[in-house]
Subunit: 675 residues, 2 copies
């Protein structure tokens, strides 16, 4: 069945039932909203397909998320399993290509309500780490869901620091088996998704022991539950880790192994093999594997983190255009809260941030592809830079998106505290991204390590990778801006960001060197500098985001209206960053007190400019009402009506009279004679 | 029954089952932990009573909160009602005085699991706003829970801006009744606690209309549900507003009134009366009422907000002393994460903040009491200052506590995302305080209005209230610190805070004046300065917190160990504030680049000093394990064991085999022949 051309889903025409306060915001956008949507989708054809997929999903009641905020964790899990299996069948019926855009858009629209998320990582890990025979054996089963898998790496006592993992796999030459064990409570696998109540198989990471010698972490394929009755296999203890802030659709689990034996061929052996006599043999170029981790970080940004911030902005900005509170001008009707400078200053920088991360995500994908091509050809030069970039940008994107979503939530006042606003869900979900796929502080310090090396290389006159080329500068002097308008010049603010990053890094590096020279051990000196090193890595990542936003503007030279509004957002993102860390830019006199005053004025001046297009700018994200699942943020702006309608459906209004009869009536009847 | 002297609850002796990593942290505190606990309790006698109450509560299984994180909203509500009624009965049996400390400690320990919270506000509002006859009629009924009340002020479309409330009460001379109406959807009462599923009565705020003239907001006593069967009274639509981020124990509700008639005597008439002929008469000094709102804000800080931050610190710091991750020194065992500078820099400033807010809370209570005495004597001079102080400190305390609790949560990595850590509960709960009892931005701007007035008064040489006396200064010159040690001098950093606040305020005031002189209307000029005004109000409030912490130190002159550790915390709080807003202190050259480097070093130097006492400092808060309700933060440090034990009890491990049989088995059986 071919997809018909359906555009009706897109909320791109002013309907008659739209709240007039929201309708008027859409009357005179300064740019073509549809065109910006196409840019965000990567082309008009993608927009068309995405909308068609959304329409298709929304026609099917099975995919409704209407009662999402009313469900228990168990109900969310059961629904996720049911929906996932149903969706897989339906997508097959549609004949959609395995890597086609339709499947991608389905998953993006429904990801918070589907299961088998780590099953996909399980599949990828077999493809990446398995031999051809192993792939031939396991992948077809996993693709058809004849087995369900998980990726069991993290332990109760060990997360980002992989070398510390405790699970052991000891080779028994006599039986040609590995014996897997969980040697302590902190060694149990903890957190893997799909493990708690679903998986039959797991790729388990364990320290490989051959004749009492440890060879480090290796992956083993392990059956953990019976395919017949789902009971744990011998030696296995497995279960769910319980309630979390979000991700109720995922059954994160624990796993304890006691003398669990798996045949020799179950070690995934693309890169290292254990021979029948217990000898260890390394093979192949493992480095390509590092890229997998990096690409996962990039995909998470684009498919999960940035959309969460975009949704939060959509809800908060639409609501701020219909919420009226207090009088701006005495005697006038109450004002839209979006007209207050304080509200603009909360929301519009978040909007600019969402656009900034969109463009840096595109950049990451681009250089990742380049790195992938080179690595395949055996050129590994880009890997350290790529690792530093993806780590640093993962941190700033997840950190700022978490803070930003929370700013949006809080800016909606009391109603932002209601789950029905959709905002608490977005906030608690995005928060997790600061921890998973590498804890943010740990990643920042890895980026810092790379930067320190580059600074050292620069000092000895060696060439630097492009993203850090500015570290070769001797000095940045002082900013030469004379008036507030100068701060709308990207060269001016990019220089300022480069200067801050350079200076923070140089300060940390000098301190590090000084401590080492004073006789403090390297590791201790590093620890004593780590707050400043992390700060420098953050400043560098911030600079990259600003630079990539500026570079993206050049693409729209033929579209002045689009370019103009994106330029405003880029300026706002950059100036908001300066305004929020004035000290970072003032030190060594780079910016003067007068120049800071100019930044503040330039920054505040941008707010009312962008405010005019605020609603069109979130409309351009083109989330359907079903995607947003928010009583406050719907396209029609009927926030109060929807809050009331949704609240009436809450289970809290279906508790019946039981609490009254049991607990309250015996007390209240005492008042009957008195009132 | 007298309370026996029970101290066993206090976790103040090293038990043999304590995790050695935590035990060792308690071996050499630099101060007497018990003494600090007594200080926080306001005396050793209070500590004794509090512990006895805790023991009493924990012996009774009815008060167990063990399954709290597993319950649905409906279950949480039902439990809250049951526990509240049971507790009231038990407390009566104990013969505890109505305003005695035992009842206070009971409520503090259980507040998150009790109902009838707004019932108390209902009672207070009758006492504050009712005539003697009204008090005599309603208060006895309410005290015995023969009726359950709510305080219905906030509307769906109106929160902090009270003048915008839409509900109407029109007097009908013919029947001597008020007719209450909800004229639009945005006018329905929305959010009041105890309204959704409990209250039989409400104090409803409505615009009073007499012969078509509006007299503003007035309170009306209204029966909303039958005492016999709990059905809504005629003309009433009432229900629950549904799921929220937290506060599942509270049934926040909505209320729609359609021509609901109440007799004339149901207007609470202590301060204004409607005569039988429809004439309006004001009476009495209403100003004392403003104080009620202020005291509520102070009480919330002390009883709710600051303890939430203290609990988050307790959990995160204890966990950081038992969590080991990565090697600091190569070859050594993995290090406690509390030994990493980055972890210290996350947690220790939050600990200092908790202590800072404790002392500023004491100060607020003290000047509030003074203000109350004066107001009762008809002296209203202190009211504007009190309002500005309580508003500003409410904002900084709720804002910093929210951010701080989240820092603590995130610092616990993945396990901080599990509800079983207790941290998500603390975080989502404290977030609400930024919005309730006056939205933070609105409150800041009210403080700013007071500060602008004071600055004007200072310019014309008028005397200023004590908390803003520094605004009389002409200029602050430059900071004279010469070395990093100088920044441990409270005079140095207090001056810096005064300078920042003064400068921000003066800048905003100049801009405001300039805009008005340029012909921009006053209200518009105010809006265009509001970001900077809010910033100035925040800086002023921050200064007050620092100053009050410094002043509190003087009390402990006879206890050098206590004074020393509190001084370290005060220094850390002050220097962390400078470190986090370097720009605010550098402008106009107040602090130089070199001085900022000194601040940074002084600040970082404090971290390992306080780290040594970090665990004793959270032990001093003396929360029992039941109070913390955290698998990570218990006194014995057995975090992993407890996480595992608690997870096993989760309903997610009691879902049975149904999901497997229905959805998974049909797929998995296809693999049976292949594996």
């Amino acid at each position: 069945m071919a997809m018909q051309k359906v555009n009706t889903l897109s909320p791109n025409s002013s309907g008659k039932d739209v709240n007039p306060d929201l309708d008027i915001e859409r009357k005179n956008p300064s740019f073509n909203v549809e065109r910006l949507t196409n840019i965000l989708d990567g082309g008009a054809e993608n927009t068309r397909i995405r909308r068609a997929v959304d329409t298709w999903l929304q026609k099917d009641p099975e995919f409704s998320t209407e009662r999402q905020y009313f469900l228990t964790q168990n109900e969310r899990y059961e629904n996720a399993i049911r929906k996932s299996i149903y969706l897989a069948k339906k997508m097959d019926e549609m004949g959609w290509a395995e890597d086609g855009p339709e499947r991608k858009y389905c998953h993006r629209a429904l990801s918070c309500n589907l299961a088998f998320n780590v099953h996909k990582v399980f599949l990828t890990s077999i493809l990446g780490l398995g031999t051809d025979e192993q792939i031939a054996k396991w992948v077809p089963l996993a693709k058809k869901f004849y087995i369900a898998g998980t990726y069991a790496q993290t332990e109760l006592g060990h997360g980002t620091y992989l070398r510390g993992l405790e699970t052991t796999a000891t080779f028994d030459v006599a039986t040609q088996e590995f014996i897997l064990n969980t040697p302590s409570i902190s060694a149990m696998k903890w957190w893997p998704g799909d493990l708690g109540r679903t998986a039959t198989h797991a790729v388990v990471f364990a320290q490989l022991y051959l004749k009492d010698k440890c060879y480090g972490m290796h992956p083993f394929m392990l059956q953990i539950r019976s395919l017949r009755d789902h009971s744990p296999m011998p030696g296995i203890t497995v279960g769910d880790i319980g309630p979390k802030m979000s991700f109720e659709n995922v059954d994160n689990g624990f796993l304890i192994m006691k003398n669990v034996r798996v045949p020799r061929e179950n070690m995934l052996s693309r890169f290292s093999q254990v021979l029948p006599d217990g000898q260890y043999r390394k093979q192949g170029a493992e480095k390509i594997n590092y890229l997998t981790m990096m690409v996962v970080r990039t995909q998470i940004l684009q498919a999960e983190v940035v959309p969460l911030l975009m949704k939060a902005c959509t809800i908060a900005i639409r609501y701020s255009a219909v919420r009226r509170q207090s009088e701006l001008k005495p005697g006038d009707p109450e004002s839209k809260i979006l007209d207050y400078q304080t509200q603009q200053q909360k929301l519009l920088p978040q909007l600019a941030t969402a656009y900034a991360f969109f463009f840096v995500g595109e950049y990451l994908l681009e250089i990742f592809n380049k790195g992938y091509r080179e690595t395949k050809e055996g050129i590994f030069d880009m890997l350290p830079e790529l690792h530093a970039l993806t780590s640093g940008i993962k941190v700033i994107a997840t950190d700022y998106s978490s803070l930003g979503a929370e700013v949006c939530r809080k800016a909606c006042g009391g109603h932002g505290y209601s789950l029905l606003s959709g905002l608490p869900f977005l906030c608690t979900r995005v928060l997790a991204s600061c921890t998973y796929e590498g804890e943010n502080t740990v990643l920042l310090l890895q980026t810092a390590r790379f930067l320190i090396k580059c600074l050292g290389a620069a000092t000895s006159g060696k060439p630097l990778p492009p993203s850090v080329a500015y570290l070769s500068s001797r000095s940045f002097g002082k900013c030469e801006a004379k008036e507030k308008g100068d701060f709308l010049n990207p060269d001016v603010y990019m220089d300022a960001y480069r200067q801050r990053s350079f200076r923070l890094l140089r300060t940390a590096a000098s301190k590090l060197q000084m401590l080492i020279q004073s006789g403090i051990a390297q590791y201790d000196a590093w620890n004593q500098c780590s707050v400043q090193l992390a700060q420098a890595a953050m400043a560098h990542s911030h600079y990259i985001v600003v630079e990539k936003f500026v570079e993206a503007l050049a693409r729209f030279g033929q579209e002045p209206a689009i370019q103009r509004i994106l330029k405003h957002l880029c300026d706002l993102f950059a100036l908001h960053g300066i305004h929020s860390d004035v000290g970072g830019f003032m030190q060594e006199g780079y910016l003067s007190t007068d120049q800071i005053a100019m930044v503040t004025e330039s920054y505040l001046d941008l707010l009312p400019v962008i405010r005019r297009d605020a609603v069109p700018l979130v409309d351009a994200f083109d989330f359907s009402d079903a995607n947003l699942n928010s009583a406050l943020g719907c396209y029609d702006g009927r926030a109060y009506e929807r809050l009331y309608e949704w609240a009436k459906k809450s289970p809290t209004n279906q508790q019946g009279n039981h609490v009254f009869k049991t607990y309250l009536k015996p007390l209240f009847q005492n008042a009957l004679s008195k009132l």
